[in-house]
Symmetry: C2
């Protein structure tokens, strides 16, 4: 029982209008990698945002009074705060140099997931518009090319409540259900499993992050091979939504 992770090494710097699916196809050719059934490709969200041209010029941002007020509280640049507010449904918590929001997509994370890294100065990349849709388009293109059943997961690096440090986290997916519901499965003693819901897509994202973070030049795409549960979780309709806890069920959002 083994699992293999490969970092794709030939991914060029991405610019607006680039076709990520094609870029992956070219990389796989160049590295002589054949996709297999059950392969899972994990893609750093910043790659998708850049291909979408989903980039905010800080100079163009008009700062609202609310942004100025919150910028005071958290000691962030008012323009950054304004972009964070524009990308959010609501503010969950404000802390020193961060604002935890619920993003337009429904993710609860710091600074609406806006990434000031890996873009030229004066620019910031928000999360992709629709990570599930991007994942689906890339999956369908590669499945058609290779005639294999695969999954695509779009990943971000996010902090957590209660624990220090960020980890790779799934923000979009296609081809696999992100949540493994194991109700009915039993343990060594035939008892119902303690853990009946596993956020498999988040575990895959965290695993991929181990490679993405390492190389100096960064590894934006990781291939995971040998995840047998792919067959159980295969699902071409469901996106990331099963991993998002509705506000009314979250004891930390009262």
């Amino acid at each position: 029982m083994t699992l293999e992770l490969f970092g794709l090494k030939k991914i060029p710097l991405v610019k607006k209008g680039d076709d990520i699916a094609k870029i992956i196809e070219d990389d796989l050719k160049e590295e002589d990698i054949q996709l297999e059934n059950g392969d899972i490709l994990l893609i750093a969200e910043t790659l998708i945002s850049k291909a979408e041209g989903n980039i905010i010029k800080m100079d163009d941002v008009e700062v609202s009074d609310k942004a100025i007020e919150i910028a005071e509280k958290c000691k962030k640049d008012p323009k950054i705060v304004e972009t964070i507010l524009q990308e959010s449904n609501e503010i969950v918590a404000v802390g020193p140099n961060f604002i935890v929001t619920e993003t337009k997509h429904g993710f609860v994370c710091a600074n609406s997931g806006i990434d000031e890294s890996n873009v030229e100065d004066g620019l910031a990349t928000p999360m992709p518009e629709n990570p599930d849709k991007s994942a689906k388009e890339i999956r369908e293109y590669l499945e058609e090319k290779y005639q294999k059943e695969i999954a695509i997961i779009i990943t971000d690096t996010q902090g957590r409540a209660f624990r220090v440090g960020a980890i790779g986290t799934a923000i979009g997916c296609s081809g696999i259900n992100p949540l493994w519901v194991r109700i009915g499965d039993t343990d060594l003693y035939g008892r119902a499993l303690e853990t009946t819901e596993v956020a498999t897509a988040d575990e895959l994202a965290a695993a991929a992050s181990l490679l993405m973070g390492q190389a100096d030049e960064g590894i934006p795409i990781v291939l995971i091979r040998g995840f047998d549960a792919f067959n159980i979780l295969r699902d071409t309709e469901t996106g990331i939504k099963p991993l998002l806890r509705p506000k009314e069920f979250d004891v930390f959002r009262k």
Copy 2:
């Protein structure tokens, strides 16, 4: 750039007094696996607790008034609630059928991490007494046997705020610093990295969980090979503490 995960296949059911380090040594021999420098062994916490005989008999639990009161709120068995309280420093939140506490170790998690699974009926396993110490003892034994530098991480499966589903999480470690502080590292454009603190031990635990969860009989120990950052993070003194956010710095614990 690749990462390999192996599930150790010959781990027997563990009972009180068993020597986990010796059990791992025997498994590696049987599977003909030679440990290499930089290998990381991830061990499910329930294995450590069982070897410690750290098991609570529900019949022996004397229920306090506070436990009865909280059991009312969360609709859990008062005896389970009592054990949860006894394993905790404080209650963080109470929800339907769960109590989020800070455990004696300082972890914020559901039900003080008490595991009702994989033990015979009427018994429950709390977290290991001192996961860092257990990890250190196992590491030192195996490093001495194999004359290699390795890391041991004790893992649990824990839920999260804001997201559905549990993921593999590190609760003890030895041989590696669990937190990768990257302040000073730069991105593709020479800018300071957005993410300066990565909870590497949690990412390793989540990756291992992908294998631990799969087999029907369960894979309690996973070997991760090829994690180059091991050399950067090598540390024989630090335990899991760098991943625990002090209460006063957590906006979700006001």
